[in-house]
Amino acid sequence: MPKNSKAPPAAPSAAAKSAARNTDSGPGRVSPAGGDLPAQKAAQTEALAASMPSNPTKAAEHGFANGVKPQQGASSQPASRLPTASTLSEANESVKVGTTAPEGHNATIAPLDRVRVDSSGRVLTTNQGVPVADNQNSLKYGTRGPALLEDFILREKITHFDHERIPERIVHARGSGAHGYFECTDPLTDITRATPFREKGKRTPVFVRFSTVQGGAASKDTARDVRGFAVKFYTDEGNWDLVGNNIPVFFIQDAMKFPDLVHAVKPEPHHHMPEAASAHDTFWDFVSLMPESTHMLMWVMSDRAIPRSFATMQGFGVHTFRMVNERGESVFVKFHWSPVAGTHSLVWDEAVKISGADPDYHRRDLWERIESGAYPEYELSLQVFTEEQAEQFSFDILDATKIVPEELVPLRKVGRMVLDRNPDNFFAETEQVAFCAAHIIPGIDFSNDPLLAGRIHSYVDTQISRLGGPNFHEIPINAPVAEVHNNQRDGMHRQAIPRGRVSYEPNSLAGGCPFQAGAQGFVSVPARIRAEEEQGKVRAKPEKFADHYTQARLFFESQTPVEQDHIAAAFRFELSKVTVPAIRERMVASLRNASEELAMKVAEGLGMELPEPMERALPDPAKPEVDRSPALSLMARPGNGSIRGRKIALLVAAGVEAGSLLKVQEALVSEGAVARLVGPRIGRFTAADGSVLDADASLENEPGFLFDALVLPDGDQGVAALGGDGHTMEFIKDQYRHCKAILALGASQMLLARAGLPVALDKAQSQGNTGVFFADAAEAATAAVAFIGAVGRHRHFGRETDPPML
């Protein structure tokens, strides 16, 4: 902008100087008064204000056409830094105030280094930085005398301690986080201007938080539950939070029911039980009266609700979103994260046992994978479809209880996400991170999904009480890497120090800054609402939302028989925990509408008669496009077969044959697995050849079900010692029951027989693919190769029977 060159006639210098030194009134004309700074500031401020005689974009605030093509706000350049400063005295520096604010920059977006703390070589201080001379004793009047009120050091320490906790999240309280990056592999510029998808190879930093939903912050990881899969993209156009789950559908269709759902699934309010479980009356009472939950129930009763690792589960954006390109054209999209390691889950018996021995199972797994360089990696793909296509679908794409089958709209690969850095501090990062469904960026927009609408409100709202005020965006983990400039001000825990006196727009005193970005900023898609009938304000759902069972059936029918058995067993377990038979019967009555076969199995497992099918809200739903979708089976994504990050137990005791065991260990470790020596106790054991094996885990402290596979050693004396330990038998039994790979070297065959491996395995064993291997110690190296292959296949469900034979 041109500077105002028409200088006012010079006033007497002393008067101008004097006038410029007041903050409460001013002269008729402003004069720069030579080199006097206050006068100069006053003159430049006057010029800056005068450069904007009116608000030039006012007219463009009106009319639909202007609304969809907003103009950039007006701004003008001050003659110097003077007019936009808060104070002339900013020129005075110190180690505390630093220098002056660099122009056009918000320093709170600097990398986390700005707040990292390392105390190496430092003395202990108070929070005020005062060195603490004695951190052992409170201040007392005499060694046996009373403590003194003036002990500010003790009081600060205790007071801070007293306030260490913040409220846990109402849902998704239990979570584990990691840093990483998203890398675009296939740019999406044809459908979106979103910055992470602009160029091949472009990397965007991310922070991901995985979570369970029901349990509290300290509850077990392996509960049967949905897993949160929330990704914060720190893009150069602001933070984008893709707050998804490991399941692509949800229990309800409208946010109006969200508090009801959560109240029903949470521990019951009178006695606060059960923690981290949905197997109780109020949950099943609610969902059996909400048949739209049936599809989600199928997923939650499937093994997807008990993943082996966060690195072996899918993630989904759940809702339909929009993508918008540079020309303002929009399409609908669904987001899919697919793990490179494949989709692998636990089995229920295993999940229950793990929750006792290692409630931090998933958190530990994520931490250890990253720590050891076996970085979790996921592919991001999209389903892309137009509004016209969506209108033809047999289901409504605004309904969060429906998927778009991949057979109908195939996945389009976009990029990959790698999680390669653990947080430095759980509280500062994983606990204080605030994901909000409302956080989107230019190029991405919402659909009218009524559940999404509620989420757009709810996440921001809940952070305000959880994180203590409206400035949670300034908590380092939440701060964007993009410049943040607006006129939101003050509030509790404010960290930014805005320079200048302007906190409103339009303004001329700050040269109009920060000004609205216009079309370069976020512009909502001017979506028109298409409907056959005229619409008005209404509380009702579209008709297709009433089809509650078609996709529940699709999911069940798309599973392999073993997966179907697990779903039936999960329903059986959960409903068996319900104390009111009428609720159980109502649920089975509802299931009959999804799958007779499933309902029959569940009824049989509960020892009850099959009830009449529940009346359906939509007796005659539209014929679905597909009736089978293999992509819905966990078996469809075996992954790359790698055993990286897998934990394998090699049992040791005094007198085992070391050579063959170490050979197998070496082979496993070279494939990236963690192969631990596990003994009757930890520590050193003398092997048969006199060498020493040092066990880093014991049968007692790391029970068998915590491992992905088991190797039993050769060596008569060692095997005899293991055989005399009841833990060994439990170890083997669980490994067998959970269908994991077992390699028995030489003499340890006897341990399998002793543990009670069913003789009926014999025929299958000669047939192959049982995942149970017997090998002489001399063949350890070859046996290891076959064993590694079997570990890569994850589970050997041919062994599974219901009830278990072992």
Partner: protein
């Protein structure tokens, strides 16, 4: 490698169950993970499943069920159920055997057969076997008969 003692009749029959379950699992795994590239392998597995089940049903119907019926009259109802399930299985086996190259339609048939057998096996394990084990039947002699008949039938079925 595992049999530390000779199997009795129930264990022998159960060995068939466990073995064929492995084949079903292998089949499903291939059908899901490699639907395009595993046609020949799936056809072979399906044929093997059908062969195994045919012989298995036959030796049960010829030897095990009658022996149990003689020893425990109250087994009648369960045995009727079992035979009805055998018939359903045979129908599916016939459809699978005459099916051409594996495709999702055949995968669905094999899955249905797997579910049917899973149910049937569970009934045998939890209903018939405990009855047989407490019936006074010489299950080890019966095992010999079953094995002999199985060996007789198996090559013919191949």
């Amino acid at each position: 490698m595992i049999s530390m003692h000779a199997m009795d009749a129930c264990e022998l029959l159960d060995a068939d169950h466990v073995a064929v379950k492995h084949l079903f699992v292998d089949y499903a795994r291939l059908a899901m993970a490699a639907p395009e590239g595993s046609g020949a392998e799936r056809r072979e597995l399906a044929d093997r499943i059908c062969r195994e089940l045919t012989v298995h049903a036959q030796i049960e119907e010829e030897l095990f069920y009658p022996a149990l019926q003689r020893a425990r009259r109250e087994a009648g109802g369960l045995l009727e159920d079992a035979k009805r399930e055998h018939q359903q299985a045979k129908d599916l086996v016939a459809q699978i055997e005459s099916y051409g190259d594996p495709d999702p339609g055949m995968d669905a048939l094999v899955a249905r057969l797997a579910q049917l057998i899973e149910h049937h096996v569970k009934e045998e394990r939890t209903g018939l076997f405990p009855m047989a084990r407490t019936s006074g039947l010489d299950l080890s002699a019966l095992a010999d008969d079953l094995r002999a008949r199985q060996e007789q039938l198996m090559p013919a079925a191949v």
